[in-house]
């Protein structure tokens, strides 16, 4: 089972990695966007980390405050997308003090669905969904199958990576870059890239602590 404290550690790990990639992500956004994506993600996850887990026992309550903290820190596109995902996940987790692997998969599903509802984007629109949707779907599909969680996550991460890479040849169809049409082709979508960083942080924690997750 995953404890509240571990979620906090996950946010810390994501925040650390996003911070390291901050300039790289801004550069990606500079290609067809306004060059601020690394900043927004950095600020957003730093805000989520700043919520102290010690004051909570209910994971739902904790995640709701993290969501609001993220939303407070970031507007742009990323604020409402991740904010909505966190809020949807928080709703599911309300009343829980620990999460099973199934709970996690369910929350990822709900979160990504929230992003899709908020942003109205489809697979192939050159957004973070091109990373997140394949990941979430592969993970869910593998839920009842044989094999370790570590392996399942690894497979899902391969799909996430392929999805992210596929945005390179896409034409942006939504959001700020869509106004460039054909000219938006040729660069990885920054949101897709940062989503991969987020997932990778989660995946690495899973493989490090594979025992706990199995528990």
């Amino acid at each position: 089972m995953i404890q509240l404290q571990q979620l906090h550690e996950l946010f810390q790990e994501i925040s650390k990695r996003i911070h390291e990639k901050r300039d790289e992500l801004c550069e990606l956004d500079g290609f067809a966007g306004d060059g601020d994506h690394g900043i927004s993600m950095d600020i957003g996850f730093a805000a989520a980390c700043a919520v102290s887990p010690d004051e909570f026992t209910d994971i739902g309550e904790y995640l709701k405050v993290c969501a609001k903290s993220f939303i407070q820190a970031v507007g742009a596109s990323i604020g409402p997308l991740y904010g909505t995902a966190f809020l949807r996940a928080a709703k599911y987790a309300t009343g829980k003090s620990a999460l099973s692997a199934e709970d996690c998969v369910q929350m990822i599903q709900l979160g990504v669905a929230g992003m899709q509802e908020r942003g109205k984007a489809q697979l192939g629109d050159k957004t973070l969904l091109d990373t997140l949707l394949p990941f979430a779907q592969t993970l869910r599909d593998s839920m009842d199958a044989q094999g370790s969680w570590a392996d399942k996550v690894k497979t899902a991460m391969q799909e996430a990576h392929a999805g992210m890479e596929s945005t390179r040849e896409m034409v942006a169809n939504i959001g700020r870059s869509s106004r460039l049409g054909e000219r938006s082709r040729g660069g990885v979508d920054p949101g897709a890239a940062s989503a991969y960083v987020v997932l990778q942080a989660g995946a690495d924690l899973v493989s490090l602590r594979v025992g706990e997750f199995a528990g």
Partner: protein, 332 residues
């Protein structure tokens, strides 16, 4: 980049601080310096109007906060949406019990944040409705009206919805009228030269010395064509041909028009455009009721202008004449 600023990352907050310091009699910020409401908010029993969006478009958005227009606004970074949290704060600060209308330009980032804010506000028991302004004819074809962006025509929606709210109408009525205005307003712009976003330090687009961008967006989004500069008469008739066709205007119709400067185009030139618009419309038998000329929605120091046309009925005419008093826009 020669600009009046200190650290580019402090630009928005320092500018807002200046606004609140200079106009403390009419505006105040609520916690977050990027959330600004009229000083008498909430006005009890009045439908409140909230707006917001990226910074760099003054008097859009803060400039429309005051008597006869909006009740509160929040802004994000330059050309970037403010957060849903800021919008929620505006909402809670201006709700006078009669509900809140979210009224803003149709940009996806703003929509996502306002929608999330509306969800959160409703959770807290506040009635919220939304109207998005879609006046930019160059941003999508007529059949996809809901995809069109909001530009300077938002002025007319603030003006008429604001006057309507001030008159004591219900949230449903204010919303319905705002939608009516949105259906009847069209805008098209021409860009001469770009602006520079302080944080990036680079021009928003490139354009040759003898070229103009017809149908440019308020953040420098490409329009429908790039062509050689032409005399004022031609540029204006090009815009008006698009606008009046899109609005299905016929001789005898009455309109208000707004000739809007996008930043660095001199007022003197805007009046040349107005003169041309006046004679073009007169020739077509279209009557101008109450024209507006000036900077009503800018893009920092972008050079260029836009023309907005609003097809009027008697209700709109009456509300167009109602008084306005904000630090940026006044009407007696």
């Amino acid at each position: 980049m020669k600009k009046i600023l200190n650290n580019p990352s402090d630009f928005v907050d320092e500018s807002l601080r200046g606004i609140v310091l200079a106009h403390s009699d009419m505006l105040r910020s609520v916690g977050d310096p990027r959330v600004i409401v009229r000083s008498d908010a909430p006005v009890r029993g009045k439908v409140a109007i909230a707006t917001g969006g990226g910074y760099g478009h003054l008097p859009v958005f803060l400039g429309y906060v005051g008597q006869g227009l909006a009740d509160g606004a929040c802004v994000g970074n330059v050309f970037s949406s403010p957060s849903a949290d800021a919008m929620l704060t505006v909402t809670k600060s201006i709700d006078g019990g009669a509900g809140v209308l979210y009224l803003y330009g149709n940009y996806f980032g703003d929509k996502m944040n306002f929608d999330l804010a509306a969800e959160m506000a409703r959770d807290e028991g506040i009635q919220v409705e939304t109207v998005r302004v879609t006046d930019d004819v160059a941003s999508a074809p007529a059949e996809q009206m809901s995809k069109r962006r909001g530009v300077a025509g938002v002025f007319f929606v603030y003006k008429i919805a604001g006057a309507c709210a001030e008159s004591g109408a219900s949230l449903e009525e204010v919303k319905r009228l705002a939608e009516e205005v949105v259906i009847n307003v069209r805008t098209m712009g021409i860009g001469f030269s770009p602006c520079t976003i302080p944080a990036s330090g680079k021009p928003t687009f490139e354009i040759a010395d003898n070229e103009v961008e017809i149908g440019i967006g308020i953040h420098g989004e490409p329009g429908i064509s790039r062509q050689e500069t032409a005399p004022a008469k031609e540029l204006v008739s090009q815009l008006l041909a698009h606008l009046t066709a899109d609005l299905d205007l016929v001789p005898g119709d009455e309109v208000s028009i707004l000739v809007n400067g996008t930043g660095s185009t001199p007022l003197e030139e805007l009046y040349v455009a107005y003169k041309e618009a006046h004679s073009w419309l007169s020739q077509k038998g279209i009557k101008i009721f109450k024209p507006f000329v000036g900077e009503y929605a800018t893009s920092l120091e972008m050079a260029g202008f836009s023309i907005s046309v609003l097809k009027l009925d008697e209700t709109m005419k009456a509300l167009l004449q109602a008084p306005v008093n904000t630090p940026f826009i006044k009407q007696l």
